[in-house]
Amino acid sequence: MTTEAVTITVKRVAGSRNLLTAGVLVAICLVFTVLSPFFLSQANWINTSTTMTQILLLGIGQTYVIIARGIDLSAGATLSLSGMVSGAVMYNLFAPYDTVPEGTAALVGIIIALAVGLLVGLVNGFLIAYLKIPAFVATLGMLGIASGASYLLTNGQSLSGIPPIIGEVGNHNVVGWIPVPVIITAVVTVIAWYVLSQTRFGERTYLLGDNPDAVIRAGVNDRRHLLTVYAISGLLAGLAALVAMGRLSTASPTAGSGAELQAIATVVIGGASLYGGRGTIGGTVLGAAIVTVLLTGLIIIGVPPFWQVITVGIVLIAAVFLDQQKEIRAARK
């Protein structure tokens, strides 16, 4: 085979990876449609798409991190902590929301949630990029710290006393079909796609994951870049916390527990490589859709909820296995 032919094949393979993921998604949807008449209902669409926003927001942050050859195990715990700190501040400062307008209280809460997420991300990035602590260890430690801290705030209780407007907006569906969180997530997704695939920052994220030494030798400030990547993941976890609060009208210390598994599964199902340098936002969107449809579909057909986590775990391992087999076959050719 000439190199030109190889390249064309490679491009086809890369494109076909997303096509394959989309095919699996359609197949899963078909199975659920057959198993339950409720699957294609408006109510299930709204529930599924809103659930997907939280998974996709964490997945997008995780996409950047994984492409840069890292991992963020603290994403779910960061979500919990951002929501709890935000909820606690709004409740303790402003409840019962008669001294200041509800909107102002909510705005403060929004800023706090994003700030807490960003701060956790910056701490992760600092530990990993500057103190050279392996990403797995740093973010595993942060998982413990952030989830413990979110329980501490209220002794493990949920906070339902947040401004009602957050729940109203979070559950509002534009023209009856498009939940507000979906719109927010769509905007974030487009920006994330643009930055990753069209800008110098995105280019360097791929290069850094592919060969860090090459980037460092070229004189790029690799540490600042890595810090930014983890900050993005943290910030998006803060945004995901707001989406979660909006959906449930509650801040809960368990809002993000286990979400890191979903986020990592999302990215890997989307075709990213845990060895860095490979992955796309488009793939992550498809991965998030698969994970979400599995979660909500299993509930609809009456499978006990504990099976959800088991399923996501199996799909994660299967996706990695299949990608590795493909790589091995490609290498043999």
């Binding site: 190199t3 030109e4 110098r200 280019e203 791929y206 290069l207 060969n211 980037v215 030798r217």
Partner: protein, 256 residues
């Protein structure tokens, strides 16, 4: 001359790695640097590349003394190096690899505010640079991992030469390659020199050094034992200097 070393020495602890090394690399000239393991080739290369600093002697660039405190200083002075690991990103295409750390942005709002890469211009630049060095890569949109070893080496050399103004340092560029690929890389080295860049070519392979170099500097135990005109020497003569069988009496036999 483009680059000159005058009595450069380097000690590590009490060990003398280099003793009073003097050599020159002129524009458009390929200078071979040969020697046995431990002769000081790597140390010399690292000094010229700014990775380590000499403990004595001077480095002159266009007859002006310079001191390099980092590879960045050396690059600023127009001296770049290609090491054996090549520093390529295997899963990115040739264009991306050509521009690592030097990615070009679009002009105007798209570049300044939206930070958008200018891939068409980057791609065009790669095509014209490869043409200028009269070298070809089968497909510059291919991921580097699908290139052969020789093509990767050629890419790394072309990239460095493209950003390099004076002297290109090559560390064993042909040692891991097959015969056909060695020929490919050697002819690229010749053409890089034809563009007016000086090349310092470190190698173990006598045949390769003799094929492309104008002059060959032999290091032995940290000292220059011979500077030989490559056109008039033989592998046997080189090896006798490298091993110490021949004495350094006829140092500087080359006509300047």
């Amino acid at each position: 001359m483009s680059l000159a070393l005058r009595d450069v020495s380097r000690t590590f602890g009490g060990v003398r790695a280099l003793t009073d090394v003097s050599l020159e690399v002129n524009r458009g000239e390929v200078v071979g640097l040969v020697g046995d393991n431990g002769a000081g080739k790597s140390t010399l290369l690292k000094i010229v590349a700014g990775v380590i600093q000499p403990t004595g002697g001077d480095i002159l660039v266009d007859d002006l003394p310079v001191s390099f405190h980092s590879p960045h200083d050396a690059r600023e002075a127009g001296i770049s190096a290609v090491y054996q690991d090549l520093a390529l990103a295997p899963q990115r295409d040739v264009v991306s690899n050509f521009f690592i750390g030097k990615e070009m942005l679009r002009s105007g709002f798209a570049g300044k505010v939206l930070r958008r890469l200018d891939r068409p211009v980057m791609r065009q630049r790669v095509v014209s640079e490869l043409n200028r060095m009269k070298t070809t890569l089968p497909n510059i949109d291919a991921e580097v991992r699908y290139l052969s070893g020789g093509q990767r080496q050629s890419l790394a050399i072309a990239r460095a030469a493209s950003w390099c103004e004076r002297v290109l340092l090559l560390d064993e560029p042909t040692s891991a390659l097959g015969v056909a690929q060695q020929a490919e890389v050697l002819s690229l080295i010749t053409r890089v020199a034809e563009t007016g860049i000086g090349v310092l070519f470190v190698s173990h392979q006598m045949a390769d050094v003799l094929a492309v170099c104008d002059r060959i500097v032999v290091l032995r135990l940290g000292k220059v034992v011979a500077q030989i005109n490559a056109k008039t020497t033989s592998p046997e003569e080189l090896i006798s200097y490298i091993t110490g069988a021949a004495t350094p009496l006829n140092t500087d036999t080359t006509e300047k």
